[in-house]
């Protein structure tokens, strides 16, 4: 059994009487890729921020292993255009970084040629890789990736997910990912946790996609995505089964089995 890096125990957070998260239980171990999914406003990012220590939970506890060292890749990078900054200088800002590691890390990620580029002119995919490099240079045993493929085209997304899986295999670190994209990410994930204020369902990708709570939020796999994903912003109904699927899902209901 791999070492457990982080465990959320009954994490809850509420603002002005509005509950953002409630009773979240979840854990991540070394070598495990956990993907957090959920609709907009479901509290995914809030949960990540609690883990990173950027926000305090109002109830519950985050149990961190004493060796825990996080490499964080934010959703996007905004650097004021008045600040001239090359990729190399950006990466040299990592606290206690070994500067000799910068180039090899960039090589691993296939962006060594960008080392002297200004950070403002990178494409979406390049920016994500530079951010990943920064996370790696912090020598993490847990990578926290907030929507790592945002603004990247489909081919680039597949490449990035492959890269992340490769890093996990090489470093043996745990990976916690927040994702919108269900299909691509599923293939690379050990555990999927679907949240919407609370944990709706969790388990292997196959288990979760078959779960009615998941289907209520994201539709039936194989159904028309453009309609099914995010078509249902309402909370799912506890204990209900097929009855919460909407009309257009019914027509495809057979595809699931």
């Amino acid at each position: 059994m791999n070492k457990q890096l982080v465990a959320f125990e009954q994490i809850g957070i509420s603002f002005n009487g509005r509950t953002l998260l409630d009773g979240i239980d979840m854990s991540i171990s070394e070598g495990e890729i956990v993907t957090l999914i959920g609709p907009n406003g479901s509290g995914k990012s809030t949960l990540i921020r609690i883990l990173l220590g950027l926000q305090a939970a109002t109830s519950g506890e985050v149990v961190r292993h004493k060796t825990l060292r996080i490499g964080y890749m934010p959703q996007k990078l905004h650097i004021d255009p008045t600040l001239p900054l090359t990729v190399k200088h950006f990466l040299a800002l990592v606290r206690g970084v070994d500067k000799h590691q910068i180039l090899p890390t960039l090589e691993t990620l296939g962006i060594a040629h960008l080392i002297h580029s200004q950070v403002h002119v990178l494409s979406g995919g390049e920016t994500q890789r530079v951010l990943l490099a920064r996370a790696l240079l912090n020598k993490p045993n847990l990578l926290v990736l907030d929507e790592p493929v945002q603004g990247v085209d489909v081919n680039g997304q597949v490449e990035l997910y492959n890269l992340i899986e490769g890093i996990r295999d090489e470093l043996g670190c745990g990976v916690l990912m927040v994702s919108h994209d269900l299909h691509l990410v599923m293939a690379k994930t050990d555990t999927v946790v679907c949240i919407n204020q609370h944990v709706c369902c969790s388990g292997s990708p196959q288990h979760v996609t078959g779960h009615p709570a998941y289907q209520a939020l994201f539709g039936v796999p194989g159904a028309d995505e453009s309609i099914a994903i995010y078509a249902h912003q309402h909370d799912h109904v506890h204990g209900e089964h097929g009855s919460i699927l909407s009309g257009d899902d019914d027509t495809h209901a057979n595809c699931n089995h």
Binding site: P74, Q118, N138
Partner: protein, 267 residues
């Protein structure tokens, strides 16, 4: 006369050298209005200094630092939008300063000199203050350069990587307060921010790294002081505004003439 000019030049160069790198941070972090607010409150410091008969430089520093701390606290409480808060504080402090000055009947204050600066009125003690304070600021900047820059680039990343972000943010505000306190003699409360921002903005055009921009800003600031002083000597113009006009002129040159365009791409 030459002695006077030399002292003015010495003081001006000292201030410009420090204002440059700090101005870069003010530009990067969009703190211009914050700088203005502190600067405007400096006049109140002068009035209080006269009133309680304490060293003026000290009075200004204490007031600026105090106001910076109050600002940080108020900002955290999110009572009101930051720019509104700054607007209220800036102009209340300036007005309060003017009102306080009017109560000082028995002391004649050259208000114009405090508002717009008078490089030629610089005393030997002022030069010591400028170089003492300047040295302290530069030393702190060099020592804390990496955390300051890491926080400026991305506060959340810096925090996750273990930088003490809150403390560093406070340090930066204190540094700005310190620079404003020592610089107000030179260009006055209304023009200090420009001496920080304009050279830094000019330097942006010519630099590829943060260190380059910071040092270039120092250099451009020093050039502006020389130019302004020379113009003031030549045409008998007010020194503070002359320095700012000179800085603005250099800015225009940098952005209109096709000199070494910043190369965004690889080499």
């Amino acid at each position: 006369m030459l002695d006077l000019l030399f002292r003015a030049l010495l003081g001006g160069l000292g201030v410009a050298a420090v204002a440059g790198p700090l101005g870069a941070f003010v530009v990067w972090r969009r703190m211009a209005y914050f700088g203005d607010t502190l600067a405007h409150s400096a006049l109140l410091g002068v009035a209080l200094g006269f009133l309680f008969d304490i060293n003026l430089n000290l009075a200004i520093i204490v007031l600026c630092v105090g106001l910076a701390l109050v600002l940080v606290m108020l900002q955290k409480k999110h009572i009101i939008a930051t720019d509104t808060l700054l607007g209220i504080l800036a102009h209340s402090a300036l007005s309060l300063g003017l009102v306080a000055v009017s109560f000082l009947d028995n002391i004649r204050i050259d208000l114009m000199a405090y508002l717009f600066g008078d490089l030629l009125a610089i005393s030997q003690t002022d030069v010591y203050w400028i170089y003492g304070g300047g040295l302290a600021v530069i030393t702190l900047l060099v020592v804390f350069w990496k955390p300051l820059l890491a926080m400026t680039v991305n506060e959340e990343l810096a925090k996750v990587e273990g930088y003490p972000v809150e403390a560093i943010r406070l340090l930066l505000m204190l540094l700005v307060a310190l620079v404003i306190a020592v610089a107000m003699k030179i260009v006055g409360v209304l023009l200090i921010t420009s001496l920080m921002i304009i050279p830094a903005a000019t330097a942006r055009k010519l630099s590829k790294t943060p260190v380059q921009m910071a040092s270039m800003a120092s250099l451009i600031g020093c050039l502006s002081v020389c130019g302004g002083l020379w113009a003031s000597y030549q045409w008998d113009t007010p020194t503070g505004p002359s320095v700012v006009v000179c800085a603005a002129f250099l800015f225009l040159i940098a952005y209109t003439l096709p000199i070494q365009r910043l190369k965004y791409f690889n080499n």
